[in-house]
Symmetry: C2
DNA sequence: AACAACTTTCAGTATTTCCTGAAAGTTCTG
DNA sequence: CAGAACTTTCAGGAAATACTGAAAGTTGTT
C-alpha cells in the first residue's frame, strides 16, 4: 500500500542525490585534468543551479570552510567561468556560472593556452636556443626533438586560437557536430 | 687568453643543462595536466635520448628510487608512450619513447578519451537517467544542463576519435598546419 | 640445486597540495 | 564614529599523493 505517486520530498531527495553525484564526479574529473577538486565542485554546483549562490550557500552545500570557498570562487572568477552578481539593497556577493557549454569550452581553451601552452613554448625555445651552437650527435638529437615539440605546440596554439574565438561560439557547435557526424 | 673554441666538456655541460631544464619543465607541465611529475620527467628523458635506457640509467639521471622508476615506466608503457626493448644476450630491460610528436599526440588523445571522457559520459548519463521522471523546475534545469554537457562530451569524443585515428598521423600534421595557417 | 641477474611489490615515510578557522581588513549604515 | 555585515588573508594542520628501500619474486645459468 505505498502511495501511488512519489511525495514531493521523495522527489527532492532523488534530485539532491543526482546533483550530489554530479558535483562529486565533476570534482574527480577536475583532478584528472589538473584542476583542484573543490574548484571543480564549486563550478559544478553553480552550473546546475539557476539562482546565483552566496559564499555561505556554497559552504553549506559542499561542507567546506569559508576560506576554501572564497579562494576557489576567486579562482573561478579569474578563469572567467563564474561571475559575481550583486543585488540591489544586499551587501552580500552572489555567484553564477557561465552555463553555455560552448562558451565554457572556449574560455577553458583560452585560459589553458595562456597559462600552460604559451609558457611551455617559451621554455622550449629557450632550450633550443641554448644548444644551437653545439654540434655533437646528442646535441643534434636533442635539438631535433625539441624543435618538433615546439612546432607542434605552436600549431596547437594556433589551431586552438581559431577554435576558441568567442564570436564563433555559435558556429563552433555546428562545425564540430558536423565533424563528429 | 681563453681557449678560442669551447672544450668538449664545456659543450657537454651546456647540453646537459638544457636537457635537465627540458626534463624539469616537462615535469611541471605534466602536473598542470594531471600527470604525475616523475612520470612526465621519465617521458621527457626518454624523448630526448636516442639509445634505449635501462631502469638504472633513469634512476641515476633523475635521482629517483628503483621502485619509483619502475612504477612510472610501467605506467608509461601502459599508456603506449614508451616501449620496452630487449637486447639479445642481455637480461636487462631497456626503454625507449615514441618520438614522433603526432603519434604521441594521437596516443594521448586516445588514452584520455578512454580513461576520462568516456567514463565521464557514462556518469552523466546515469545522472540524467535518475532525474528523468522528476518534473520540478529545479529538476528541469539540472536535466537541461547535464544533457548539454553530455552532448558536448559526446561530440568531443567523436571529433577526437577522428583526429586521433592512427592511420591519419601523416595527414593530421598537414591538415592542422593548414588550419593554423 | 644453488646462485646470479634482474623485476616487482608494498609498508612506511616524505612531500606536496589543499583546507580550516580565526583574525584582520573593508565597506556600509545609523 | 561605532558597530554591523561582509570579504580577505594566511599560519598551521589535515589529507592526498608520491617516493623509498628492502624484501620477495622471477628467470636464467652453471
Amino acid at each position: 500500500m505505498s502511495k501511488p505517486t512519489p511525495s514531493q520530498s521523495e522527489e527532492a531527495l532523488k534530485l539532491q542525490e543526482a546533483r550530489d553525484e554530479f558535483v562529486a564526479q565533476w570534482g574527480t574529473m577536475g583532478s584528472a585534468w589538473g584542476v583542484n577538486r573543490t574548484m571543480a565542485q564549486i563550478h559544478a554546483l553553480l552550473m546546475i543551479t539557476t539562482r546565483p549562490l552566496s559564499t555561505d550557500d556554497i559552504m553549506e552545500d559542499l561542507r567546506i570552510s569559508r576560506g576554501n570557498a572564497h579562494m576557489n570562487l576567486r579562482e573561478l572568477v579569474g578563469w572567467g567561468l563564474v561571475r559575481s552578481v550583486i543585488r540591489k539593497g544586499e551587501r552580500k556577493e552572489f555567484f553564477e556560472a557561465e552555463k553555455d557549454v560552448w562558451k565554457m569550452f572556449c574560455i577553458i581553451i583560452r585560459e589553458r593556452k595562456r597559462r600552460e601552452i604559451q609558457p611551455a613554448i617559451a621554455v622550449l625555445k629557450g632550450c633550443i636556443e641554448r644548444v644551437n651552437a653545439l654540434k655533437s650527435d646528442e646535441a643534434e638529437a636533442f635539438s631535433t626533438q625539441t624543435k618538433a615539440l615546439c612546432k607542434f605546440m605552436e600549431t596547437a596554439d594556433s589551431v586552438l586560437s581559431r577554435v576558441a574565438r568567442s564570436e564563433e561560439s555559435t558556429v563552433l557547435p555546428w562545425a564540430l557536430n558536423y565533424l563528429a557526424r
